[in-house]
Symmetry: C2
DNA sequence: GTCTATAATAGGATAGAC
DNA sequence: GTCTATCCTATTATAGAC
């Protein structure tokens, strides 16, 4: 499926959530009429959201999980993650799709998909934290705290219309995740 | 205005956002027919959301800001805050209204209200952090980090359907906000 | 593959009885 | 104050031309 179409659909779901993403908005964002969207996504809005989630799953894989699993020191791998997060969240100006789609009807439809995405994310972070020298319980806790700070920074950024908290969270991320290498 | 009605409206806006909160859902949640809701809120859905925001503003004042400004040591004041947060967010099982209403159309309608609520919250946290011995720049930074961790924990709790991260954030909150009192 | 046109349903809002 | 009935618009979805 055309990646640029899905990008435009993502923008709408990301900023309006599942219920707020009307066919009119999706049509306008993509430049395709409703009927054309139904040609590409016979399942309608639900199938569009599924395609968007599948794409973000693959983006999380390439922008977040792959860098963490790449060869190199934990510190280098985490720097790859930080760069990926900057891209994925447009420097803090874009909301998280998982967050937006976990509200309301989206929660019912995609709850387990979303939960799974968070789990995979935490596992990958915990793995690099462990490689840096933390025991596995600490690594898991730090991984969760890193996700929390990213998600919280995105919420605060949207609420106050400034990306400063997101930038700072990314700056502190390596220090907060990895063991001191003295 | 009847507080219990607004509580029921809040539940809907909190879990569905502004656009997802349909009159049908609002009607069902309150047990009032649409026309009765319009009798109480002539401005319709927008006025209902305004009432909900006004109530949460007052809840934030009593559950969050007042404890922080109460007489007592910073540590005692922060403990009052932690208790207030537990109540406000139902131990981590409820999303933040400010977060839910800052999506989509809610952002357009209530953006500055929401931004103001976050500012007041940060200021109050920074004030108690400063009282505990931090310089004002550090106090502000720690206050923002505390809000970030609360919001992030609520997002992660919703996404994974567990309140464990929220509970842990509350446990660590005093340590993360206040200067060591040795 | 995309369009215009159109149906069917849901959403927001009002009128008027009680 | 709350209800039933109703209106108008928006939304989801489909049919059929090109």
């Amino acid at each position: 499926m055309d990646d640029v179409i899905i990008d435009r659909l993502s923008d709408v779901f990301r900023s309006h959530g599942y219920e707020g993403a009307s066919l009119s908005k999706l049509s306008e964002a993509t430049g395709l009429q409703r009927a054309s969207l139904y040609y590409r996504f016979p399942g309608g809005k639900k199938e569009m959201a599924e395609a968007v989630l599948a794409q973000i799953d693959s983006r999380i894989a390439t922008q977040i999980l792959d860098p963490l699993r790449a060869p190199g020191s934990p510190s280098e791998r985490v720097q790859g993650l930080v760069d990926g997060l900057k891209t994925l969240y447009q420097n803090g100006h874009a909301s998280c799709l998982l967050e937006a789609l976990s509200l309301g009807e989206g929660q019912n439809l995609f709850g387990s998909l979303i939960a799974g995405a968070f789990e995979a994310w935490i596992d990958a972070l915990a793995s690099v934290a462990a490689d840096s020298g933390h025991d596995s319980a600490t690594a898991k806790r730090l991984a969760e705290e890193v996700i929390i700070s990213i998600q919280g920074a995105l919420v605060l950024a949207r609420g106050r219309n400034t990306n400063a908290p997101f930038i700072r969270v990314l700056e502190n991320l390596p220090r907060n995740l990895l063991a001191e290498t003295t």
